[in-house]
Amino acid sequence: MKKNPLEIAGEEILKTAETFGGITHLLLDTFRSLFRPPLEFKNIIKQMTEIGLQSFPIIAMASLFTGMVFAFQIGFVSTNWLGAPTFIGMGTAIAIMKELSPVVSALVISGKVGAQIAAELGTMKVTEQIDALHTLGTNPVKYLSVPRFISCLIGVPVLTLMADVIGIIGGGIVSAQKFRVPFNVYWEEIISYVRFDAVAHGLVKSIFFGLIIVVVSCHEGLTCEGGAEGVGKSTTKAVVFSMILVLIADYLITVFLAAIGLGGEQ
């Protein structure tokens, strides 16, 4: 029987509500399991190495070019409006630390790490490996979610910090090559005008982004159904859902941080 558009819309809303409920449930379950010994140290280190090694080259490339293009835009606009390339260092550093590097890193990690988590756990689900864990007295949330959760919560801010440094170097290269502002002038400007608040602002965001990516991806993997096709769908959904939630959360966290004064002055 053909469904009317209202029914289809209703079903979609219900499904989305169910997904959010499932994600919240998994988040609480993961928190609870986090404090229950034993911690899977071997597994955590393995996950962290994978997350770092997988994402660093792409994040490095993405942040280098983001820093370069941002410095170019500021230099270009300030030369046209003010007659000289000013504020390149300050503008680039603040934008990179507070906004560009946390968001660009989170989007890259969603695509790279989120997809891998969802595909790996999804394959384990459809090949009954998750059921096998239960029969071997192991809680899948404790064994699979917790190590990935810890790794992302530490790994994403660390990668964001690295992206900050690389992005600023990228900006410095353009500032020196294109606008003839020497690197030491660019750097002096950053040191004198940019406060630690801007770094902290970006880092707080990146912790939340890491949390969103890991919980959404684990949830999609653990609830995957329907063989190879199901794994494909779960993987796509994990990436798309993480990316959208990261962008929405970015706005909300920024408003909140500005309200409590963290990085709000710059």
């Binding site: 096998a132 029969t135 192991t138």
Partner: protein, 263 residues
């Protein structure tokens, strides 16, 4: 002893188990037979608490597991070993790590004892010297045998076999059947198998139960099942497409046995 009383389980509008009753006695091997998709695996998963029935009770040694909390359920699940249809070995771990998986998590055993147990259990299923291989390097039959070694590693009281011979050539299927019999004789475990392979069912079972339309149609010894007058059982064991069991194929509802072909 496992007592299943009136369990119902639906997935959406599809009612898979419809008030099913079954009793499994200690020390026996009971095989559940039935067509593809009739709910055999769902029944196994309800027995071990991987699926919660919508209603009814599943008593394991007198405890109704449908009412248990996660922690208590885990304690009951520890009495079980399960051989999954596709072996379900952990891809990222070696054969030895797979076999030892439950041991490391449930018991504080010294490394030397764990190694001894791994070797011993692998020998029981006829494997040797493959401890360091990854599951991807094993053949289908070897995977099933490693999975069997993993299932018996913790000396379970009950062992569940989900389609033990599916996907194997007839000789390897018989090797697995022999292994099940051998383990049964040696370890005195209560075994529950689900299969649609009658050769395997006759060989390994003390009793056979036929699952049809969400209920147990008939239970009996292999001889009683062979001589059954029940048309459903008769059609299944003689592997005939004519009879009361109708398979849904595409737009057809099945062969109704009128002699006029598909309706």
């Amino acid at each position: 002893m496992i007592g299943i009383r009136g369990i119902k389980k639906s997935f959406g509008e599809n009612e898979v188990l419809d008030g099913l009753d079954l009793e499994i006695r200690d020390g026996e091997t009971l095989t559940i037979i039935g067509g593809s998709g009739c709910g055999k695996s769902v029944l196994l998963k309800c027995m071990i608490g991987l699926l919660r029935p919508d209603s009814g009770s599943v008593e394991i040694d007198g405890k109704d597991i449908t009412q248990l909390k996660e922690k208590q359920l885990a304690a009951v699940q520890a009495k079980f070993g399960m051989l999954f249809q596709g072996a379900a070995l952990f891809d990222s771990l070696t054969v030895a790590e797979n076999v030892a998986f439950g041991l490391r998590y449930l018991r504080d055993l010294p490394d030397s004892e764990i190694k001894k147990r791994i070797r011993e259990k692998l020998l029981m299923v006829g494997l040797e010297g493959i401890e360091d291989l990854k599951p991807a390097e094993l053949s289908g039959g070897m995977k099933k045998r490693v999975a069997l070694a993993r299932a018996i590693a913790m000396d379970p009281k009950y062992i569940l076999y989900d389609e033990p011979s599916t996907g194997l050539d007839p000789i390897m299927a018989d090797v697995i059947n022999d292994l099940i019999l051998h383990l049964q004789g040696r370890l005195k475990i209560t075994s529950i198998a689900v299969t649609h392979d009658m050769v395997s069912a006759y060989k390994i079972s003390n009793r056979i139960a036929m699952l049809y339309q969400g209920k147990i149609e008939e239970v009996g010894t292999p001889d009683e099942i062979r001589q059954s007058k029940n048309p459903v059982v008769k059609q299944f064991i003689t592997a005939s497409s004519k009879g009361p069991i109708q398979m849904k194929i595409g737009g057809f509802s099945g062969y109704r046995g009128t002699g006029k072909g598909w309706q």
